[in-house]
Symmetry: C2
Subunit: 211 residues, 2 copies
DNA sequence: AGGAATGTTTACCACTTGGTAAGTGAATCG
DNA sequence: CGATTCACTTACCAAGTGGTAAACATTCCT
């Protein structure tokens, strides 16, 4: 039994390293997503983590490298969230309904995640390209879904890419809405948002969709 | 005819001062709205204006004071934009349609304006409170409009304040959408946005509004 | 004209920023 | 056990930050 575990604590150092990096990434994603990349210094981050900023720079060579790592993580988590949404049961509008509900739920549960996506779209440069590259699996999957639905006449025919961008930015809008509600002092719930959104949609639908 | 104008250039100094301050506010609104408050230094701002940062600090005692002034200006411009939207012709849904179109047009013409509003909602603290205070004329006017429309049965009855917050955040969402489109390399036009939004709305409407 | 007020610049400062170099204590390995 | 690697800290630095003080040029007032 001694041969199986080579050291008293199985991979204790490597595990601790991975745990530390995960903690840093988590706090960084949260801070960057809610306060903005430039508004958060490495010292701030380190203070939140109870370590020194040099500990962060030990794991990533620069703040920018940390940002890239956070982008990777955010993209991964987005993929997981959306992947869950896209594998919902049902078909046609009932499936669409589940997906939309689920995405709104993400916007409420993880505002920092979507806020971060918005943040890097502002930083621009490589960052936005990186995201679209990392999200490729999701993009192709969503595109396939849209095209299938169009083929079967359940969605009006249009460019799937544009439709995806619209849906994507609508999610960002929902995230913004959550932030605005909190700023105004209303703690948003899924129910309240859905109710208000229903009002809003009938409002907008009549204005934009109706001839 | 000499008595009318007391100096060769009518109020030339005061006018130039006002013009300078207006230029600073304009560039600051643009930069803060697109890059974020913390991402823009006074030196950056001054460089864009072709002056020194101390010239800015002569007109406002601190960067924060400048931000407050920019907030005032943004609120004023928002009021003007929305005021124009609210004084659209027509009644009922046709009027709503005009308003929504006009607001989307603002989101496309002035992304920095709505981006800035989002920015200060992130900065939080007094800023968001200030905005709601400065927007009071617009809020009460919009509320009156909503209530009138509800009284006459043209909008389903609900809390006007909540409806306004929803409409407000929808505008922010539209601004985000414009940013995302530009990041993806698509220069948004009113037509393309309306077309895609129509698709999106029928998409969401069926999912969220339909029983 | 001459002095005062005004708008702006140059010079400067304390502090924070991201980042580097060297040192330290514990885990790992021979 | 002793040497080494590893995760991290202390000490430090150059550049940039918001902000102040004083010098300077222009416009205004009398």
């Amino acid at each position: 039994m001694a041969a199986v575990v080579t050291s008293p604590l199985k991979g204790s150092r490597a595990d601790r390293t991975r745990a530390t990096e995960a903690r840093i990434l988590s706090v960084a994603l949260d801070s960057f997503g809610t306060k903005g990349f430039d508004s958060v210094s490495l010292d701030d981050l380190a203070a939140d983590l109870g370590i020194t900023k040099q500990a962060i720079l030990y794991h990533w060579s620069s703040k920018r490298a940390l940002l890239d790592a956070v982008i990777d993580r955010a993209a991964l988590e987005l993929i997981i969230e959306f992947d869950g949404a896209l594998s919902e049961e049902g078909s046609g509008w009932s499936r669409v309904e589940s997906i939309v509900r689920r995405i709104f739920r993400v916007a409420m549960r993880r505002p920092e995640l979507l806020g971060f996506i918005r943040e890097i779209s502002r930083i621009g440069g490589d960052a936005s390209l990186r995201v679209t590259a990392d999200l490729e699996p999701f993009v192709s999957r969503a595109t396939n879904y849209f095209e299938r639905e169009m083929d079967e006449g359940r969605i009006r025919r249009c460019d799937p890419g544009l439709l995806l961008v619209s849906a994507y930015s609508t999610v960002l809008g929902a995230a913004t809405e959550v932030e605005v509600l909190r700023a105004v002092g209303i703690e948003p719930t899924l129910r309240s948002t859905v109710v208000r959104r229903r009002e809003l949609l009938s409002f907008l639908h009549a204005a934009m969709v109706a001839p």
